[in-house]
């Protein structure tokens, strides 16, 4: 009786401990919110004397209105142009001065600003970030400069870059909802019309503590970091948490095919896009493995067929593009002249049909998973990689602890899952094809 009781106690105790395998982890994540709504995620790692600090804002190009595209990108650049206590570009210079690294990016759903520095410079990094979150300097002069820069960037990307326009067009075709159909870099005519008020409103609506997440990974003491974070950020007004736009797409649109002509292109090419759900759906994970089976793996099914065996194409690209509302699985092929595009496309569709109707072999799926896993783990190894994952999990799902188990969701994908998801989403009625034909100048 006593032995049974002891056994029961032991089982109860151990059931609270997460199973530690190669696909789950025990990162000691700490998560809390400040009074002003700022989400804070801390992950200590004393292995090396460095840390990464990242600020995520849960907004992006999806929050722009028709006629006002490009604001998010402009604001990203303005975020380095000074604040109450720091002059334009001073943030960048200070990070560089100490051999640190910094960057920022804007996507459809999030805007992220981050730096990696030696561990004794935490106070400096937090001071810099708090200052620009709370008191960013925006004026007409700075706005005019950034608009010019963005217009030039747009010009460079589109004017004589082959296929550039097609990469924008495939998104316009894939999404009916404006939130995701327009380019992050904005439309030229919109850039002209953006006003100071537009940018200022975007900043005050979305760059607020209640719409933000601060992630800190690396060599620091949680106690000291918490105290510094409160000291620097708690006084910033909470602001609104931003009203997320409607990200729904109408169902059952059917196949869509379009052809465009590109005077900069030397060879014919095409894009194929398949919409599918985002990470909150269990179907997301098999699709990432399908990405490795079809495209990214070495060698992948399509590489073998199109590049090596039949030599129909000389470049293959694409993959999973995640968005919070709806993701896309894309395939881009740069073809050798001499093969009609529909012949190459038929080859791709045939391989996809094989994937749907024949279970992938054990060897194929293990290989795809191993290659996926090694990339995933390389990312997870760095303070920056972990900061990015923690930020995404918090901003999208309010659950940074996913970092400890997400890999296992990929590793548990079975050949049956591959077949099921391929049948459901890599379907003729669910695809968009954009052909690109070289146009004689």
């Amino acid at each position: 009786m006593i032995n049974k009781a002891i056994l029961l106690v032991l089982i109860t105790i151990f059931s609270f401990f997460p199973v530690y395998s190669q696909e789950t982890f025990n990162f000691p994540v700490k998560y809390f919110k400040l009074n002003n709504g700022l989400k804070v995620v801390l992950l200590e790692d004393r292995t090396h004397p460095v840390f990464t600090l990242a600020i995520f804002f849960h907004c992006g190009s999806r929050d722009e209105k028709i006629g006002k595209t490009g604001i998010a990108q402009i604001l990203q650049n303005l975020y380095f142009q000074g604040s109450e206590n720091f002059k334009p570009m001073e943030h960048l210079l200070l990070i560089n001065k100490f051999g640190g690294e910094l960057n920022a990016f804007t996507s459809e759903d999030k805007m992220v600003f981050y730096e990696t520095l030696p561990s004794n410079l935490l106070k400096m990094a937090l001071t810099l970030e708090a200052d620009r979150m709370g008191s960013l300097r925006i004026d007409d002069g700075l706005l005019a400069i950034q608009k010019e820069i963005l217009k030039r960037e747009r010009q460079l990307k589109l004017s004589d870059q082959p296929y550039a326009r097609s990469f924008f067009r495939i998104d316009e075709l894939s999404f009916i909802n404006f939130a995701y159909s327009h380019p992050i870099i904005g439309y030229k005519e919109d850039l002209e019309l953006i006003t100071f008020k537009d940018v200022y409103d975007f900043y005050t609506n979305y760059f607020t503590p209640s719409n933000a997440c601060l992630v800190l990974v690396g060599n620091f003491s949680s106690e000291e970091a918490t105290s510094l974070i409160k000291e620097n950020f708690e006084n910033i007004n909470s602001g609104s948490s931003g009203v997320p736009p409607n990200l729904k797409e109408p169902p059952g649109r059917g196949e869509l095919i379009e052809t465009i002509y590109d005077s900069n292109a030397r060879f014919p090419a095409f894009h194929i896009a398949y919409p599918f759900p985002s990470r909150d759906s269990p179907d997301f994970y098999p699709m990432e493995i399908i990405d490795y089976l079809l495209l990214k793996g070495n060698p992948s099914i399509l590489k073998k067929k199109l590049l090596i065996e039949r030599k129909m194409a000389y470049e293959l690209g694409g993959g999973v593009e995640e968005r919070e509302g709806m993701s896309l699985f894309k395939i881009f092929v740069l073809c050798y002249p001499g093969y009609p595009l529909n012949v190459t496309q038929s080859q791709i569709f045939q391989e996809i049909e094989n994937l749907k109707n024949n279970l992938v072999s054990h060897k194929e799926i293990v290989m795809a998973k191993n290659q996926f896993k090694i990339e995933y783990l390389i990312d997870l190894r760095s303070t920056l990689g972990r900061a990015m994952k923690l930020g995404e999990f918090t901003v999208y799902f309010d659950n940074p602890y996913l970092i400890n188990e997400e890999l296992s969701r990929y590793m548990n994908v079975t050949p049956q899952d591959i077949s099921r998801v391929a049948k459901k989403y890599l379907d003729k009625r669910n695809r968009i094809i954009l052909n690109v034909i070289p146009e004689k100048k």
Partner: protein
């Protein structure tokens, strides 16, 4: 206001801001730390192993480095070290090339090979669960590769194709020319293979090269990742104890550089749209106590966004698109170069202004703030890159290649901190003040020759390193 004038004002304001940032901000300096977080042991056959335990992520990084590179090849066989390194994946007694590749793909291993003049470096990243199978495979690849001729020919064909493409690569042309001028006739120049040398290489040559140089007592193994000392030692013993020691050849003696007496070498690259200039110099009779002051000196002159060349020529005068500089250490000398790019119309100004900056640098005192900025940048950047792992591998590799003491690694960051103004000034006087830099210009000769002809004696080369003519005095 014209956009050109706006640009100039912007750059001047940027320059002032950088100075202000350097002087006024009192955030802490980068802290030093000891680099001693690795274990070191040697197997009975002389294979030296460094183990860095990083628990938590089930990955292992393997770096296997041999003290043999292109300068170990015979004359007229440049490229042999590279072909041999790639050739170990071409087949063994038990596995054909496609089987080797298949296995590596299945494990998901990421592989990188780098061959320099004095080393061959294999890097692998593997999932922990496949660490032992990979070691088992690696042991076979190193000891039992057969280098079948048909596979070797595929490799030499590809390298010849790359060599062909490099005839229009500005940076490649600049570096080949630099090596040609400093090291022609010495084994160091064999770093750059030619079509002829690659065409000579056979499977048998690779086999002999591997037998001679791929020996345990001529190599180090650096392992980082989710490993434990005792188990790793046992696995290594099991897989590599049969690997036989060999005779280590004495390193070749340094041959004094043969320099052309021209001030400027112009390499014609008709496909280039900009001008690329390489300023290079040898630091002779080098001693390791000079390493750290020279590293700091490099940072002050041109090594980071706060450096003199970057601020003065790129940000302030806006005549450069890019600046980079590098120090390459050899056994008893060092090679220092500055590589800049810019618009063709600025070619003359680029050369004159860079020389002016070098002259100012060699004649003026080192500013305290400049020194601290350079040291902080080095220490900070070093901390970051050590955390990524690659820098630690480079430091361990240098220790192995140049027989540096343990203190070189352990006190790496502290040694940077110890550098002061007087040690940097001594280095500048010793190595820069009284020696002329060689200038190599790569670009379209038809557009450039008129612009730079008055700067001194110019040797004109084509992109196959053939001298076309010499002009001017």
């Amino acid at each position: 206001m014209s956009s050109l004038r706006k640009n100039k004002i912007f750059h001047q304001l940027f320059f002032i801001l950088v100075l202000w940032t350097s002087i006024l901000f009192t955030f802490e300096d980068v802290k030093e730390f000891k680099i001693d977080f690795f274990k070191n042991f040697t197997l009975k056959n002389g294979l030296e192993v460094y183990l860095i335990e990083e628990k938590g992520i089930p990955l292992v990084f393997l770096d296997l480095i041999f003290k043999a590179g292109e300068s170990s090849t015979q004359i007229n066989y440049s490229g042999l070290a590279t072909v041999t390194a790639e050739g170990i994946f071409s087949g063994t007694k038990k596995m054909k090339a496609y089987q080797i590749q298949d296995r590596l793909d299945f494990f998901g291993v990421k592989t990188k090979i780098k061959v320099a003049d004095n080393y061959t470096h294999f890097s692998f990243i593997v999932l922990k669960e496949y660490f032992e199978p990979l070691l088992n495979m690696l042991s076979e690849l190193i000891q039992e590769s057969l280098f079948p001729n048909d596979e070797i020919m595929k490799k030499t064909k590809r390298l010849i194709s790359e060599w062909q493409m490099n005839r229009i690569n500005n940076k490649q042309l600049a570096f080949e020319t630099m090596y040609y001028n400093f090291f022609k006739g010495s084994p160091l120049f064999r770093l750059f293979p030619t079509r002829e040398s690659l065409s000579r290489i056979t499977g048998k040559d690779c086999f002999l090269f591997s037998k001679r140089f791929y020996i345990p007592n001529n190599s180090i193994f650096i392992l980082r990742g989710d490993l434990e000392h005792k188990t790793t030692f046992e696995i290594l013993e099991k897989n590599f104890s049969g690997w036989e020691r060999g005779q280590i050849l004495s390193p070749f003696l340094y041959i004094p550089p043969k320099r052309s007496d021209a001030n400027i070498i112009l390499v014609d690259n008709p496909s280039s749209e900009n001008v690329n200039v390489l300023f290079c110099i040898i630091f002779p009779s080098f001693d390791n106590s000079f390493r750290f002051p020279i590293l700091v000196m490099n940072q002050i002159l041109s090594g980071n966004p706060f450096s003199r060349l970057y601020l003065n020529l790129r940000e302030s005068k806006n005549i450069l698109s890019s600046v980079e500089s590098y120090l390459k250490f050899f056994n008893d000398f060092a090679l220092f170069y500055i590589y800049v790019t810019g618009k063709e119309e600025n070619a003359r100004r680029i050369i004159e202004e860079t020389f002016s900056e070098i002259k100012k640098f060699s004649e003026s005192k080192i500013d305290k703030f400049e020194l601290e900025n350079a040291k902080n940048y080095l220490k900070g950047n070093c901390s970051l890159s050590i955390s990524y792992g690659e820098r630690l591998v480079e430091i361990l590799k240098d220790k192995f290649l140049y027989s540096l003491p343990d203190s070189f690694i352990n006190n790496y960051i502290y040694n940077i901190s110890e550098v002061d103004e007087s040690s940097v000034e001594r280095m500048v006087k010793r190595y820069i003040k009284f020696q002329p830099f060689l200038v190599i210009v790569v670009g379209r000769k038809n557009n450039l020759i008129e612009k730079i002809k008055d700067l001194g004696k110019i040797e004109l080369f084509d992109n196959n390193l053939n001298l076309i003519k010499t002009q001017g005095e």
